[in-house]
Amino acid sequence: MDSTGIRLDRIRGPVTPRNHSARTIAALSGNPGCARRAVLDAAGVDKQGLAAHVGFPAMAGQSQFAITRGNAFEAQVKANGCAELLTLLREHLSLPIREASYDNLDEVGGNTSREVRHAWTRRLLARAAQSGDDAGTLFDHPLLCLRVGGRPAYLEPDLIAFQLSGRFHVTEIKSFSVIDGQADGDKVAAAVIQSAVYVLAMRDLLAEMGIGPESVADQVVLVCPENFSNRPSAALLDVRKQMTVLRRQLSRLRRIDSLVDVLPPGLTFDLELDRAGVPRRLPAAVAGAVRSVDARYAPECLANCEMCFFCRDEAAGTTSALGRATRDDLGGIEHVATVLHLARGAGQPADDQAEVAQLLRTAARLRAECLGEAV
């Protein structure tokens, strides 16, 4: 293991690392400038536990009901050798009848470790890509690997279908319903960016074996319940745009070693769990450690990061806590107090703030006139 790996292991402490998922990668690409999240995710820290220990438990992630519903729908679609899914793929995407082979990659001979499953996935997919016919059509829960911030992250698409016009198609099964051909835009967008992560990972995997990116389709198959029933319906979605966004943001995601190098030596987020899993480290000490890594809080974090309440509390009084748009409107000044100070015209603004100060004063004057107040 390289020095960065050792360093990240120490930051995490002696617990098993958390898996990066397509969801977290999609979220990561939403806030690539946040060093705190990058370090926590790269080290595989249990953010939920960490946030709860420092006194800011968050309800991030899916609700248990949503997860159960999602799993039930997925199980239904995949039951009996993907019977329902095969029907969909045959009807909408004209999958030939004889292509019905199904491989479950959930476990390999009773072994569910990530490394073994990944190796098995590589083997089967490579065989399928190289030999073409008769080498598998549906691959259930393959385990892919994508390097994020210099560290491998394991990903598990719902299904990969091969032999749809000779290419691999990532298939994503989601339990939100498509009503009258319309689905919730946010949910579709999230599903599409997740699938884009899988397509990227899949292309990486095949590239390692010298197989070109054209063998993985730019289009993904999204399977959702139709209207108010449980009947699945399928749609092809183009992910080219999301792929470009992701690729750019993953490369922009500052390399994790340069982030880790500037952290104080001996830094750790180890909660010192005892045998019963109860943290013994003082919350204040943990919070201190967390603060030593810079965060970039934005209101969007509330939707996709477990540390959000901690960071929001820390960012209180800064303009960025009000959102990027507001911050830009206020001329990029960091603190709300400074903004108010300038708007009231108290004190002399610094040279680089002169222009903003004038705008703010005008805004304050207009507001006062509207409300009939004295400035």
Binding site: N80, G81, R90, A100, Y102, G109, G110, N111, G136
Partner: protein, 262 residues
Amino acid sequence: MPESIEQLDQRAEELRAQVRQALLRGDREGARALRGELRRAERAWHDAIELDEPGPRAGNQAPRGPLLPLREQVHQALTLLTVPAGPRLISSVHEALFVGAIPAARLTSVRRDEERSFRTAPFARPYYLCAALTADLLAPARGLLAVSTWPMERRVIGPLSPRADYLTAAVQIAKNVQRIPMPSTDAMRLLWRFAVNIPGATVEAAQVDPAAVARAAQSELEVHANADTKTRRSAAIRARRQLDEAQQLFGSRLGTVLSAEA
């Protein structure tokens, strides 16, 4: 003789009046005793109503508890299907074509119990409910149950086997439904669920013809049969050569060996 519903109605009404009077008198003890009696009367009323109700399905007066032990019921369903199946399918087949439902959750421990029984006294029972084996690693296939008396070829699962087995199951169910003069709604629904996922099995959306389902399933089966039989046969030969008796029934756990290699 139990009281009739009308009598119970009347008694509950009287008791309610008495409770109100007792409360007005301030007789808390008396009121409590009367309310206890009222509750008993109401329970008796509910029981009487339930007895009076016609069964949920006419002509299908199922006794409350199943008459056969769980493993026998599973064996029945699997014998009908003739292919390895998951708990959910076993349960719905039993519900539709035999008597009473098997809760799918109760099937999760069946395989483990059977394996324990086999290991303590091998071949003491006429049959065991065992695992289906994956063709590549001869490991137990997830969530599938099979019968130990079946030939190994039927119990190994290659890549095409889930589909082939699905189609075989459809044929079997269709044949069985055909034999019933008045198939229950459950049976028709089960058949319909199979039919919608087999090309050419449903002519009209609302109508399912067992003969048509069997025909359509058979013709798709012919497409896969060759390749599937080949994989299964070679895997079965391997299984018989490499595995001991217990492993042949319950699969080998290659997990540890593989992870050491990786």
